[in-house]
């Protein structure tokens, strides 16, 4: 797609915003109990503009978006749509006005086909066959390949997002709201999405783009509104700002660059995977094939890869949630642990943080101190004596983690589900870091966590390694990987590449490895 500079609003005059006003939200206020989630928020969206909505977790972005999409009622404030004051009482009304939304956590029905999923969001005035044809046509026009008859449960995350987008496009919206659309995509898939978004903007569609990734906001957005603690603190042209200044506006204080420190030369191997293999457990699981990896004391090794390439399976094998066929496959310290359960591995000095914090990393309905007991009952913290829980000690530890890792909570020792995503992530990582483990394995350490909290978590991971621990990070976020990793390996279809020093790698090379297209395979030149 070639675009003349004069017609591309991205290169427009400073401060001058193009396009007619489509939606004007004035003084929106929403209260949840004692918390003001939105405090007299105003936002103006224009046709043809990609408008970024920035803010930390809990800044009130999701609340605002839900109000615009009719999923929540504001306590006060007006919505003016194309010059008319409107009340948007339900998502159906929002869609009728021309507001479409692509959700962060996909709102798809897994048991239904692609076409059925899309049909549900559209008015019931066309035949199923005509709809399937329209789906094929729109997906062809926008380069979003989709098979209308496929069942969603069988599809990858990237394809699922395409369904959401096509579903949105078929409603011929004037405004599309996108909540963290790239968090699950590879760099290449994200590039494809940006092309689609830019084309939509050129066609006059307004896009409200929510993201934590400042780099991509600078790349594609024409205007940005920044929220903090439920209020709009600033509007700006993101192309005129630096990532650092945007982050500062979001967090309200400077986000420090990470202190990398020095890798101690040739530390002992603390975690060794040797010919680790496991069969797939079902049609949605990935087989792990001959994974070899050594993680030494003092270093951070990262495993990059697109979701669903065997990360969770590998994590389960390393943590002991699933046993390997031979004891030698996983060595922790100097002890073969491939046949040992998770508690034995923890006792040997290892700690594990799974990807899903709510439901896997923590039990939603249990208090934080009780969740703490779940991973540390037998790691020598004296939390259990003679089979009885020492709740006071657990409480004291919980307080320590809360202070050291800046876990914010509205009252003392709440249930895990009461914490926001970022705060809970700080807690589940803090719970393990607090032990000062010799080996830490963490899957997606900062998924869906805001910039401030992510920086804190990343710094803690580096510090832990520099104090002599072996740290293995599994992540899909390339920014994160390049920020913290000393060596990088890439997982693709259950196979792990060699771990290569980070300085010797470029993002493009890792991106290609993630897509399973290394130079060695001979296809890289064409694919790039």
């Amino acid at each position: 797609m070639t675009v003349d500079d004069t017609t591309n609003p991205q290169h427009g005059v400073v401060g001058e915003r193009r396009g007619t006003v489509l939606l004007d939200a004035r003084g929106i206020t929403k209260r949840f109990g004692e918390i003001l989630a939105n405090d007299t928020v105003s936002l103006t969206l224009r046709a043809g503009e990609i408008h970024a909505l920035l803010g930390e977790n809990g800044a009130g972005k999701s609340t605002l978006v839900k109000i615009l999409y009719g999923a929540l009622d504001p306590n006060a404030g007006d919505l003016v749509w194309q010059g008319q004051t409107v009340t948007i009482a339900s998502p159906a009304e929002a869609r009728a006005l021309g507001i479409g939304m692509v959700f962060q956590h996909f709102s798809l029905f897994e048991a239904l086909t692609v076409a059925e999923n899309i049909a549900l969001a559209l008015p019931p005035d066309q035949s199923f066959r005509a709809l399937s044809e329209r789906i094929r046509q729109v997906s062809r026009d926008y380069g979003l390949t989709l098979d209308p008859t496929a069942i969603v449960a069988d599809l990858s995350v990237g394809v699922r997002q395409r369904i959401e987008i096509v579903r949105c496009l078929l409603q011929e919206p004037k405004l599309i709201i996108m909540d963290e659309p790239t968090s699950v995509l590879t760099p290449q898939e994200a590039d494809q999405l940006f092309v689609t978004l830019e084309r939509l903007a050129l066609e006059g569609c307004a896009i409200l783009y929510i993201s934590h990734r400042l780099e991509e906001v600078q790349r594609i957005c024409h205007h940005a509104t920044i929220m903090r603690h439920g209020k709009v603190v600033m509007e700006c042209d993101p192309t005129k700002e630096t990532a650092g200044s945007l982050a500062r506006l979001m967090v309200g204080s400077a986000v420090h660059d990470l202190k990398r420190g020095v890798v101690p030369r040739e530390g002992d191997v603390r975690l060794a995977l040797k010919d680790l293999s496991a069969e797939a457990e079902g049609p949605f699981s990935v087989a792990i094939e001959n994974v070899n990896l050594n993680v030494r004391a003092g270093e951070v090794v990262a495993i990059a890869g697109i979701a669903g390439n065997g990360q969770s399976e590998l994590f389960e094998l390393v943590s002991g949630e699933r046993l390997s066929s031979s004891a030698d496959a996983v060595t922790i310290g100097a002890v073969p642990m491939g046949r040992a359960g998770i508690t034995k591995r923890r006792r040997a000095g290892a700690a594990f943080v799974p990807e899903e914090r709510l439901g896997h990393g923590a039990v939603p309905g249990l208090k934080l101190s009780e969740n703490l007991l779940l991973t540390r009952h037998s790691t020598g913290d004296g939390l259990v004596q003679g089979g009885f829980l020492k709740r006071d000690r657990a409480g004291a530890l919980e307080q320590r983690i809360k202070t050291n890792f800046d876990v914010r909570m509205s009252h003392d020792d709440p249930e895990a589900r009461a914490l926001s995503g970022g705060n809970l992530q700080k807690f589940v990582i803090g719970r393990e870091l607090d032990r000062q483990p010799d080996v830490l394995v963490v899957n997606q350490p900062t998924w869906g966590v805001d910039a401030g909290a992510a920086a804190l978590i990343r710094q803690e991971l580096i510090d832990l390694s520099r104090n002599g621990a072996a740290v293995l990070v599994i992540s899909q976020d390339l920014d994160e990987i390049f920020e913290i990793a000393d060596r990088i390996a890439v997982i693709s279809r259950g196979k792990l590449s060699e771990a290569i020093p980070a300085q010797k790698l470029t993002r493009e090379r890792v991106g290609l490895l993630m897509a399973g297209l290394d130079e060695d395979s001979g296809g890289a030149g064409d694919a790039a």
Partner: protein
């Protein structure tokens, strides 16, 4: 009339109440609600069907009584679980206990009274055909209704938008809500439909199967219907096959005993449950089957945030 034909006739009679109750519960579960009170709704339907026929003199009006009383029980279940968000399993079990007690109380006066039988409709000429005549064209109206319901439910669930919405609500109620579907309304309607079917199934017992009122006359058929829905992996045509299979097993045990085959009757009565457990094991091994057919939100309460 040959022995074989008479066996088939009794199989149809045994299968129809299972089919009616199960096809209703299938719709309920497809919408994401687990109503374990089928047995309770059935037994209330049985006693009210009997009472209705006694009061009006018409077995057809009796069937209407049965249907409406089943819906009444379902409405209570819906109010408790959908409106007040009570636990569905506990409420369903309580509904069964309530139904058993309530029906015993209402039915006290009817014990030992002769009932009014809902007879088969004899379609002229066709029902006189040899072999298949009585079998296919001489059944009562509820048998035809049960078969029509299977076809109707199958068509609506998989070929219409209403069915798509029911399946969507059962698969992911939060997403359905976000799309502007009224989750509670869909579930209320499904629960009421299930209650109507269960009530009718009960009415079939006291108006056709054994036209009289006996306390506890459902004898666990509600539970078999529940098991059937799982056995059929939530597919209407498999419910039909399963109902006739389970019905046949029930009838065969009488004939087996009559012919001196030494299979303990307890074993035969337990067979539907054993078969259901076997099917459960098989489908949980096959995750595609489970994922595509099992309503993912089954039994999960829905509370919209607003």
């Amino acid at each position: 009339m040959g022995a074989f034909e008479s066996i088939l006739l009794t199989v149809i009679t045994a299968a129809t109440p299972l089919l009616l109750a199960a096809i209703g519960e299938l719709v309920v579960e497809r919408s994401g609600v687990l109503n374990l009170g089928v047995e309770g709704m059935m037994i209330v339907g049985a006693v009210m069907g009997f009472a209705g026929a006694q009061a009006t003199g018409s077995p057809y009006l009796g069937a209407v009584f049965a249907l409406v009383s089943g819906m009444g029980m379902a409405l209570l279940f819906g109010f408790l679980t959908l409106h007040l968000v009570a636990n569905q399993v506990a409420t369903g079990l309580a509904l069964t206990l309530l139904g058993l007690g309530l029906s015993g109380m209402i039915g006290e006066a009817f014990v030992g009274q002769p009932g009014i039988r809902l007879t088969g409709i004899e379609i002229p000429v066709l029902s006189d055909l040899p072999l298949v005549g009585r079998l296919l064209f001489g059944q009562d109206v509820l048998v035809y209704l049960s078969l029509a319901l299977v076809a109707g439910v199958s068509y609506v669930l998989f070929r219409t938008r209403a069915g798509l919405i029911i399946r969507a609500v059962g698969d992911n109620h939060s997403s359905a809500h976000a799309l502007g579907v009224s989750v509670l309304k869909v579930r209320y309607l499904a629960v009421l439909f299930g209650g109507a079917c269960a009530g009718l199934a009960g009415g079939y017992l006291s108006l056709v199967y054994t036209p009289q009122w006996v306390e506890g006359m459902t004898a666990g058929r509600g539970w078999i219907a529940l098991a059937l829905v799982v056995f059929a992996t939530w597919r209407p045509l498999r419910v039909l096959a399963g109902a006739y299979l389970f019905g046949a097993v029930g009838i065969l045990q009488f004939h087996a005993q009559a012919h001196g085959v030494a299979i303990p009757s307890q074993f035969m009565s337990a067979l539907p449950y054993v078969a259901t457990i076997a099917v459960l094991v098989i489908i949980s091994r096959n995750r595609i089957l489970t994922r595509v057919n099992t309503p993912a939100c089954l039994g999960r309460p829905f509370v919209p945030d607003r």
